[in-house]
């Protein structure tokens, strides 16, 4: 009988975790390098000047602003639609229930390029010009599943008798929603919303198909990857993006900690 992990297992697990983290940490070093023409390692010197250069780049700010607006609106739409869908699927059995949950998962289960090219050809077909709103349309579609997953897990754990008791005691459906259901699912919704925001903020594959001339931050970054203009600026932006996405993930973790299904497992 062995309650202690064998050395081999420990090494394999530690090596796996290092493999997951070292590349990201490397970005943090590159953000400070003085070298601006190549990806030279080790960095010939360290400097803070690229932070100032990046700060003064209007294209970075425009892209960041667009990404934040797209993520905010897509998250709002996804939260409404995802919660409605979760409430329907979790609370009752009806014909086609499996189909509805499949429909919600499909946009993320199929490769992003299929969602992207489908939307693009549909927009072309009905002559919708590419704009801010076409980006939002695509993002909201695949963000629904994240909110849905979180909400459905919480609805399942929230006892239906609570709702019935509230109604029996004379509350209307709206009062029940306001004072019983919402407080119960609030943290799950917040966690789902944060994850949806992170997902939208980072999305690039669908966006390349649904954006016109606009550049979201990931599109800006892709452009820099394919045709590098100023590598150190890319390094700094990459580092900031990593730091910014850590916040909602750690936040979502602490919001749903201790529950059966911790948020974020189904990206």
């Amino acid at each position: 009988m062995h309650y202690k992990a064998s050395l081999g297992l420990k090494i394999a697990a530690a090596a796996g975790l290092l493999f997951l983290h070292l590349p990201i940490m490397l970005i943090f070093v590159y953000a400070f390098t003085t070298e601006d023409k190549s990806y030279q390692w080790p960095p010939p010197g360290l400097t803070l000047k690229w932070f100032a250069v990046t700060w003064n780049r209007p294209d970075v700010w425009t892209a960041l602003g667009l990404s934040l607006r797209v993520a905010a609106i897509s998250t709002a739409v996804a939260m409404v639609l995802g919660t409605l869908c979760a409430a329907a699927v979790a609370r009752s059995r009806f014909f086609g229930r499996e189909t509805v949950s499949l429909l919600v998962i499909l946009p993320i289960a199929l490769p992003g390029i299929i969602t992207g090219i489908s939307l693009r050809s549909a927009f072309n077909l009905v002559d919708i010009p590419f704009s801010f709103w076409t980006i939002v349309l695509g993002h909201a579609t695949f963000c629904i599943v994240v909110v849905y997953n979180n909400a459905v897990a919480r609805f399942r754990r929230t006892s239906g008798s609570l709702v019935e008791a509230s109604l029996d005691l004379g509350a209307t459906y709206f009062q029940t929603l306001r004072f019983v259901i919402l407080p119960n699912i609030a943290t799950a919704l917040l966690a789902g919303g944060m994850l949806a925001f992170a997902l939208s903020f980072d999305e690039v594959i669908v966006t390349t198909f649904t954006a016109g001339q606009q550049q979201t931050l990931p599109i800006w970054m892709l452009e820099e990857l394919v045709r590098p203009r100023q590598r150190p600026v890319t390094n700094v932006v990459a580092m900031v993006v990593v730091l910014v996405t850590f916040l909602p993930i750690v936040g979502a973790y602490y919001l749903t900690r201790g529950t059966e299904t911790v948020a974020g497992q189904g990206k």
Partner: protein
């Protein structure tokens, strides 16, 4: 009851008498959105794969034909399909091997603070920006980058050179070789494999492993005949992600890899510069078909219980 007189009260009563009405109100907005925006687009795309492109005018010919699907079997196109499926298979296999020890340790031995460290240790890379992760590998694999420097410092450059001279997997440098593409895919999708495997392993009661040991099984035998079969649904669930994501990706092979294309790149080019939407649509149907078959097999093996 006073509230019944109000509008809210009357609506409430209607919901109470007809629960189906409430259900319908809940379902209509999301189903309409997904049905119109998503399914509508998807079917529009599928329909286009049955059209063809006129080779002389470059215009789309809107008559039903299977000619476009036939083009998929031209050697140059068929190579793209084979190459992509082979890459997806290799990435999935490697991800399962690398993920298993992490998931096993996290599920069985980590507790308290280590549980949190393992959890966030997988979650943070999972949710980190996809492009940043790809970018970090461009830094690592670059000719002047850290990996080459490491080989040089250890005086092992000849090993790397020998490896790169192997046709197929090698190339001029790691950043333009299939090995490079493979490593980036493995890195980016690995967390998608760890989580379901860990979830499956956490459901294995430790008493079962003790029983296996008590009945005389060596640790290796317990692993082979008890743990692995119980972890299999989790591995299959994870493989759905790694396989599907590799099939459809067009950015990683574009940034790190050879000039030989994968399905995603073909779709992107045919719909973009080439303007051949029918062929792009036919290419896009392949991942849908492959995933359909894959999901059917996975469902049979009980993978969906582990999601």
């Amino acid at each position: 009851m006073a509230s019944t007189a109000t509008f809210g009260g009357r609506v409430s009563d209607a919901f109470w008498r007809k629960p189906r009405l409430l259900l319908a109100l809940l379902l209509v907005p999301p189903v309409l959105w997904l049905g119109i925006v998503y399914l509508g687009s998807l079917f529009a795309l599928l329909a286009q794969s049955f059209f063809s492109i006129d080779e002389f005018s470059g215009l789309i010919n809107y008559d039903f034909t299977l000619k476009t699907y036939g083009e998929l079997f031209r050697p140059s196109n068929f190579d793209i399909l084979l190459r992509t499926v082979a890459m997806a298979g290799a990435v999935t296999l490697a991800a399962a091997i690398v993920a298993f020890p992490i998931a096993y340790y996290a599920a069985r031995y980590a507790n308290g603070r280590w549980k949190v460290i393992f959890y966030l240790g997988v979650m943070l890379p999972l949710w980190s920006s996809y492009l940043v992760k790809v970018y970090s590998w461009k830094l690592i694999l670059a000719k002047e980058g850290i990996l080459n420097w490491l080989f040089e410092t250890l005086h092992l450059s000849w090993v790397l050179q020998a490896y790169l001279s192997v046709p197929g997997i090698g190339g001029y440098s790691l950043s333009v070789s299939w090995t490079g593409t493979f490593l980036v895919f493995l890195y980016v999708w690995l967390p998608f494999m760890i989580l379901p495997v860990q979830a499956a392993l956490e459901r294995v009661p430790s008493s079962m492993l003790e029983a296996s040991g008590d009945l005389g099984a060596q640790p290796g035998q317990t692993l082979r005949y008890v743990i692995l079969p119980l972890a299999l649904p989790g591995i299959i669930a994870g493989s759905i992600f790694t396989f599907s994501l590799t099939l459809g990706d067009y950015i990683i092979p574009q940034i790190v890899g050879t000039s030989a294309r994968m399905i995603g790149q073909a779709v992107y080019q045919f719909q973009g510069t080439a303007g051949n939407i029918p062929l792009a649509a036919a290419f896009a149907v392949v991942p849908i078909l492959v995933m359909g078959i894959y999901l059917t097999i996975a469902r049979r093996m009980g993978a969906f219980d582990a999601l």
